[in-house]
Symmetry: C2
Subunit: 187 residues, 2 copies
């Protein structure tokens, strides 16, 4: 989970087209929200939520977690996930992050959780995934990638509430044998 976008976004101070200063006001095109509008060329700058995409990689009874080597939450454990990029699908992004952060090869399963985090303008999407092996090759963002059975999960050391909520639903679903798609608001 890269830290490219800060949780509270700084205002847009200058126009992306011409560099002149912007001011926040409601455009006169029927819009109802304040946008950063260029004082020189009139370009309207929209700011919208970001998607974070990842996987819940499973090998038998165990799930894969990554210990973060970056801020925020250095040293805490997370599922492999990161910001979705242009020119990829949510599933492709989830696979890419799983490779980048854990060096784990997986077969992607169904969408498992969609978590809204409006306080930071993010939507997190996790897919179930089946690991091909227990050999990992984590990238520079990860201290260690390790498999955990349910009773080994470091619940007090989970990096993000969306990861905790996804893991909780996974183990609950596994007990019932039926895996749904979980839509959760983190407020």
């Amino acid at each position: 989970m890269k830290t490219g976008a800060p949780p509270r976004r700084p205002p847009i101070r200058h126009c992306r087209e011409c560099g002149a200063p912007t001011a926040y006001r409601v455009p006169d095109d029927g819009d109802t929200r304040q946008r950063a509008i260029c004082s020189a060329c009139g370009t309207i700058h929209y700011e919208n939520p970001l998607n974070v995409v990842g996987t819940l990689p499973v090998l038998g009874e165990r799930v894969l977690l990554c210990q973060r080597n970056i801020e925020p939450r250095w040293g805490k454990w997370t599922l492999p996930a990161g910001f979705m990029e242009l020119e990829e699908t949510t599933a492709q992004g989830a696979l890419r992050e799983t490779d980048e952060e854990a060096g784990a090869q997986v077969t992607l399963g169904p969408l498992f959780s969609l978590l809204n985090v409006p306080s930071v303008g993010q939507v997190h999407l996790f897919y179930l995934a089946t690991l091909h092996s227990d050999r990992f090759n984590p990238g520079h963002e990860t201290i260690e990638a390790r498999l955990f059975s349910e009773d080994e999960i470091p619940w007090e050391q989970i990096a993000f509430r969306t990861v905790r909520a996804t893991l909780e639903r996974y183990f609950a679903d596994r007990r019932t044998g039926h895996f749904g798609v979980h839509c959760i608001d983190i407020v």
Copy 2:
């Protein structure tokens, strides 16, 4: 469905922080993609996919479509949907767009479709919704909001492939009586 963001995005030419010119190159922080980086202050500008959120409003056997009063696809029919905004959830955004575009009051149901459109950097999310009545009060983006039974759907006049795919899955699911969550890539 507002047209705030163009389908092909123009490059970021100037820094949002200081207004100086940017250049596209790969940052030296471990990133692997080209980003617009400020030549003066070094700010890295990330560009990510946008979410479009909407509903599939149902009243008995009929579904609600809106005839677009805006470009692109003026005069074509769509489900109420638009760009997700900051400080709202996907579900709240879907409800907001349903009110803004159709003036329709609904009770939101489950997530029904998640459609990736990587060619334009968008993810579309549609929720099932139950209409409270057949009285609508469409906004300025809509010529007309009208209920259609399955055999009345103007399939050749549907504005977007994501809307068509969602409607197709809905009528197929209705025949089976089981409504799933459909993840679809529009390539």
